[in-house]
Amino acid sequence: MTNNTSLIQTKDATIDPLWVRILLTSIAVAFLALFLLVPLAIVFSEAFKKGVHVYFAALKDPDAWAAIRLTLITAIIVVPLNALFGVAAAWAISRFQFRGKTILVSLIDLPFAVSPVIAGLIFVLLFGADGLLGPWLSDHNIQIIFAVPGIVLATAFVTFPFVARELIAFMQAQGAQEEEAAVVLGASGWQVFCRVTLPNIKWGLLYGVILCNARAMGEFGAVSVVSGHIRGLTNTIPLQVEILYNEYNFVASFTVASLLAFLALVTLLIKKFIEHRTHLQLLESQKPVDLGVNA
């Protein structure tokens, strides 16, 4: 066999025929367009259908404004809490051996496995008027279900795996050597965390926080069950979208929805940027030793 034919053969062996490539690519592109790009375009085009003026008027509506505020409040409470929990859980799981570790890991995944509606229902059964803790709560004049605390609780439950899962994988990949080095050099636990662990995990942490935030703001099912849909009081952005839509107020509905779509786009952008950074960081920390030319 000459060199030439062997070259052609390897080329044939590693690249699919032209028609297969075109077919597979067009299927992927068509799918993407149909399920992602078209809906996104529709959201914005419907929102701006009657002009920019109507768009901003819809946003200034007191109920819409209340929904935006409630969504922000929920996110401001839930995201830091879950970030804190995520860091603690990831630290424990990636750095220590203990009994029940696998159970803890599966428990962290539980909110992904349970339907959000069920999650909401559990809180109703627990804190609702006829719930387990209902009588005690009403005796002490505390309202959780059909109020902000219920929404926060439901959102926290649904979003708590995001930071933890992200960081567990990240910290396991990085290993504990830098932390051990810091301890041997005389650093206290807190110094190790602040000066070594946190700088090392910051991009992974941010990544988890961004995803957690997107989900916290966009959560529908669990919040819908516990909120009671009280306009101006317990409606978050997704619930407000549904109400407006059911009232055939399409422009207002899509206007509010466009906020979430915009959030999604921003989230994607930041996510992309962070992925780039963490990839670089992992490459650096795991870089095999190069030939020590100057050593």
Binding site: Q177, G186, A187, P199, E284, V289
Partner: protein, 353 residues
Amino acid sequence: MKIEAHGITKKFGNFTALDKVDLQVPPGKLVALLGPSGSGKTTLLRVIAGLESADQGEVLYGEDNVTGLSAKERNVGFVFQHYALFSHMTIFENIAFGLRVRKWKNNAVRDRVRELLKLIQLESLEKRYPAQLSGGQRQRVALARSLAPQPKVLLLDEPFGALDAKVRQELRRWLRRLHDEIHMTSVFVTHDQEEAFEVADLVVVMNQGKIEQIGSPDAIFAHPANAFVMGFLGNVNVFHGRVQNGRAEVGGFEVPFPEHPHDEPQQATAYVRPHELDVDRVSHGPESLPARVLRIARSGPLVKLSLMAFDEQIPLEVELDHQRDHHLELKVGDEVFVYPHQVRIFVENEPRQ
């Protein structure tokens, strides 16, 4: 300051990493823990450092019992195989870390870091990040970082394991010179016998969680305590056979073995290093073995021969100096006689192997 470990036992689940290990490191010496992977050498080092807690046993630094102290409180310098430099800090800040957590004043930190940068000859790189350094440079920074807080002992875990051969050699000579300058009690882990023998004052050979032999490199090489040590220290030809009436018959040749003058035969294994075998054109009687030359490699400082013994079909490795090889005019396929200068025989019913 001397380091002592008494009766150290450490288990990971069902696996016994260390089994009642006793070790004494004399003050100011450089000691190598040498063994195959899984022999417990790294675990022993980590127990000495306080990074791992032993199930049983005590660790003493000088007269102080440090068993209950954490790694943070033991004030040891520890160098990791993969450097474990802080990737988000400059070289300067890496070396300064141990001083900053001890709340040294800025001026003192700067002076000490500069002093160490000079010692590792990387003064110009203080503003770089670890990722911008070569492997050898990184390991020197790791060493400087561990020395910065003036530790009482220096512990190194396979310090050159991740480097390529040439850098490795330079760095271990440098470490030896450094040790001769600062005379700090040091222990390093390695699986490379050449490294251990070249650098250390004292070599501790470990296997399966136990210490097989402790001694100077020369003593261990000349008088291996048992078959494991013999086999672990580089290339060796192994012959099986038996001892009887003050003679040993192993692998087709016969040598005197006065240690076993008895009638009843006993299984034995003979170990001969490649350079302890010689080759001749004529037979030396029962002490020599006829063999055929399979391969000749003349590229190194010694000529390496691969041969096959006729009778027993045993592969043999022999190392000759170039003069001897030239004199014999060996070619592949030649039929020659192999005879040993020195044979070490271990009778099989020894406690280990």
